[in-house]
């Protein structure tokens, strides 16, 4: 290896086998393709090549920990940033990453109250966390009902995966139910979610809610849609979270999924110039990290967005520390000062693929908006049905504050001083 090639190292905690393989291979396919594009097209980011090593976790938390520990010290200056790609693994890694000073990006998943950068200085639930997403979803439902005031007296069922991921939004839903006067009932579905007949019979025949929120993962999603159809619950009254809104979740459900709406912080599709370029340069050179048919799917595009965010944070840090291989701490500075404007997004060739984003050291989320798409079973396409819907920070922030402070006191953590939410970093 030549002396002068600089390499920034990224551990890739992937899962390409097991029940959730579709999510893992899709996401990392996109992310790695983006990084490959940087290397192939630009010769790295400002001269620093991107290097990654895969470690198969099989979506198993223990293996996630093992992978993290194995890879965290590799590369010239150690791992720069880790995408655990699993809420379970994120939880396992929070304290470790904090001790090791490696930023943890849990984009659209993970521990919600970690958005409070004062308590969780090394965790970044970027773009939109679970709770924020949820407020957008209630807003969407409100819009469909003709205004938030019409939510009063309505009934919503929350059908969720019975895991830490699934349970995460129960508090915020309850809080919103109180605020808007709707009724919420939770239906946990045990892993892996193969059979939901009882839950759906209860929903469709007895509870008869106006809306169902689908917070599933993996095989639980198509099963829910099919079961809904069998019990006569209309798919267009089901709103999914973004881990329930990929092609893999709806295609197996066939016609039953027609009209189903899911949230997203990015759309699907491969018409973006950026993705075309990837197909050209990366896949064209036979260096693609996923089968070309899956390019442009939801999970893939999520990986692209993750790539953009990561690389942009790197650039931000490089602007301050020079075009060097960054350390975890420097990377964190980059993340905490990350700001991706609409122009920059357009410049990247990703106009419409993501909303502008800006992070601070207190706010590790960025509060990005949410877009809703409807599945069209005939054309096998997601059709966007809303524009970007902003999240309701007023609800979420105070909850995050309470929850994270409780964590801090349990753990004896002193909040980083000298900052208030939104202020500049030291």
């Amino acid at each position: 290896q030549a002396q002068d090639t600089k390499e920034q190292f990224f551990p890739a905690l992937v899962y390409r086998t097991g029940p959730y393989a579709a999510g893992g291979s899709g996401f990392w396919g996109g992310m790695e393709d983006y990084m490959a594009l940087m290397n192939l097209r630009d010769g790295g980011v400002n001269g620093v090549m991107l290097k990654w090593e895969e470690c198969e976790t099989a979506y198993n938390s223990d293996r996630g920990v093992e992978c993290y520990e194995r890879l965290k010290n590799q590369g010239e200056r150690g791992a720069t940033v880790v995408h655990p790609l699993s809420t379970g693994i994120t939880y396992r890694l929070i304290e470790r990453a904090t001790t090791d000073k490696i930023p943890l990006i849990s984009m659209g998943y993970g521990r919600t109250d970690a958005s409070n950068g004062k308590i969780f200085p090394w965790v970044f639930p970027l773009i939109t966390n679970y709770w924020s997403q949820n407020t957008a979803k209630i807003k969407y439902i409100g819009m469909q009902e003709g205004g938030m005031e019409n939510l009063k007296g309505k009934k919503i069922a929350n059908l969720h995966h019975d895991s830490s991921y699934g349970k995460e939004t129960r508090p915020v839903l309850e809080k919103q139910a109180e605020m808007y006067g709707f009724e919420i009932r939770h239906y946990p579905v045990a892993h892996p979610g193969l059979d939901q007949k009882a839950a759906w019979l209860d929903i469709s025949r007895r509870y008869k809610p106006d809306w169902v929120i689908l917070r599933g993962w993996g095989v639980m999603n198509p099963t829910a849609l099919k079961e809904a159809a069998r019990t006569g619950f209309s798919a267009d009254r089901i709103v999914g979270v973004w881990w329930s809104g990929a092609e893999e979740d709806v295609i197996p459900a066939g016609k039953a999924a027609d009209g189903y709406v899911a949230a997203g912080f990015h759309p699907s599709g491969s018409d973006f110039p950026l993705i075309q370029e990837i197909l050209d340069i990366v896949h064209g050179a036979g260096k693609g990290n996923i089968s070309p048919q899956r390019v442009g799917t939801i999970y893939y595009n999520r990986g692209i967005v993750a790539g953009i965010v990561t690389v942009e944070a790197m650039r931000t840090a490089q602007a301050k520390f020079g075009n060097i291989v960054l350390s975890g701490e420097e990377m964190r500075w980059g993340l905490e000062n990350l700001s991706i404007s609409a122009e920059r997004i357009a410049e990247l060739g990703a106009d419409g693929l993501m909303a502008p984003l800006s992070i601070s050291c207190a706010d590790h989320e960025g509060g990005g908006p949410v877009k809703f798409s409807r599945w069209d079973a005939a054309s096998k396409q997601w059709v966007e049905v809303t524009d970007w819907i902003p999240t309701d920070k007023s609800i979420v922030n105070s909850m995050i504050m309470d929850s994270s402070m409780a964590y801090a006191s349990e753990k004896g953590i002193d909040p980083r001083s000298g900052m208030s939410m939104g202020s500049d970093c030291g």
């Binding site: 097991g18 393989a21 193969l194 009882a198 019979l201 993996g218 198509p222 893999e248 197996p252 066939g254």
Partner: protein, 406 residues
């Protein structure tokens, strides 16, 4: 109870029964192997996945896959034919046959086959081609080792070639036929590699071996095919129709029919036929079975092939319900309480157990779990039920009595 309540109860009950039948489909495979060899087959779930994936991918793969499969089959059939003729021509036939079996036929084939399979796994470019190579070789290899006769291999390979060159109109049948052969081939391989060295071992050791097997099958299934989610349509609408206010799905009824056919056929086979009796003998005592001349290897191949076919059927049914994906291998866990309640050794027990399990877990969840405990009870109710049940009947409903004697 009002009529509405009553109808709701009936609907839950019926829903439970129908789900139970679907569990039974997986459970039958487990019972089959247990009854015939007292092996508790952990890999049954993987077999379900393997079968379904094979089928669905065969309906999806592009033409060049079939072209490769077809031409390769022709080539290998020709090779087998030549070997066959050579064996015939030689004067001392037994010797020549032995020789050809041992060296000419097997050795180079093993080597090339292994190489090609490894290649097929490794080289991702032109995946269809390598899949074709893999499938054909798998079939050929297994046939030659199993039947020790190039004639047979030739026949099946030519069949495969014909099937491969058939047009798109018969896509589903073609896929079904080839999947069947592959599943049988897999059974042969399992006997060879896993079971043969483990004759006369403790049941728990054999159980463990099937766990190893489970990983291998999962790896092969996902490696040769892929780990993506595939939609599968077997042409039966999953649309409910109403009977007196209760919704029943046509699909579930169809599943019930299939299960009933399987169960009847297998039950007759076990109780009334010579081979069925031999299978039960094998389950009791491997060594004694050998001593009376029951050819353990053939028996195992038959049983595992049957279990593989049952798994394929279960895979098709579940796959069209949920999409073909890794998770359907986890269905085996739903089949476990079914077989302890029905009895490990009773095929009709699998159905009855399925009905009981399905009905209990649904009724409990709807009328107790959700209203009182916040739901999510479906996972443990069947097991709890099974546990209490076994306290009174340790061999399950229809299982063979556990013999306690000194």
């Amino acid at each position: 109870m009002t009529l509405v309540d009553f109808l709701f109860f009936v609907e839950v009950l019926v829903g439970g029964f129908l789900t139970g039948i679907m569990y039974a489909l997986v459970a039958i495979g487990l019972v089959l192997i247990f009854k015939a060899s007292s092996i508790f087959n952990f890999a049954q779930g993987a077999l379900v996945l393997f079968g379904a994936l094979t089928f669905v991918l065969l309906t999806e793969v592009a033409g060049d896959f079939w072209a490769w499969t077809g031409w390769l089959a022709v080539g290998l059939a020709a090779a087998a034919g030549i070997i066959f003729l050579l064996g015939r021509m030689n004067l001392d036939t037994t010797k020549a046959k032995k020789f050809s079996e041992k060296y000419v036929l097997k050795l180079p084939l093993y080597i090339t086959a292994v190489l090609l399979v490894v290649l097929a796994l490794f080289v991702d470019g032109g995946q269809n081609m390598w899949r074709g190579v893999f499938v054909t070789l798998l079939i050929f290899l297994m046939l030659t080792t199993a039947v020790k006769s190039p004639k047979w291999a030739m026949g099946v390979l030519l069949g495969l070639a014909v099937v491969s060159f058939l047009g798109d109109g018969v896509v589903t049948y073609r896929a079904l036929a080839v999947s069947l052969v592959i599943v049988i081939g897999l059974a042969i391989a399992i006997e060879r590699i896993v079971l043969r060295p483990m004759v006369n071992q403790e049941p728990i050791i054999l159980f463990m071996a099937t766990i190893g097997l489970n990983y291998v099958i999962e790896g092969i299934a996902q490696g040769v095919w892929d780990a993506d989610v595939h939609a599968l349509d077997i042409g039966i609408e999953d649309i409910p129709f109403e009977v007196y206010g209760v919704y029943v799905s046509q699909f579930d009824l169809f599943a019930g029919l299939i299960a009933a056919i399987l169960v009847t056929a297998l039950a007759i086979f076990f109780q009334k036929t010579r081979v069925g009796r031999a299978l039960r003998a094998v389950a009791d005592d491997h060594q004694a079975a050998l001593s009376v001349g029951i050819p353990l290897k053939n028996i195992w191949v038959v049983v595992w092939a049957a279990a593989g076919i049952v798994a394929l059927v279960a895979g098709l049914m579940w796959g069209s319900k949920l999409g073909v994906q890794f998770s359907i291998s986890l269905l085996a866990f739903k089949a476990l309480p079914v077989i302890i309640i029905g009895g490990f050794t009773s095929i009709p027990g699998a159905i009855v157990g399925g009905l009981i399990v399905g009905a209990t877990e649904k009724l409990f969840e709807v009328f107790v779990g959700i209203p009182f405990f916040g739901g999510g009870t479906e996972n443990w109710t069947p097991y709890m039920l099974g546990m209490f049940f076994l306290m009174f009947r340790p061999q399950g409903l229809f299982g063979e009595k556990i013999i306690e004697r000194v």
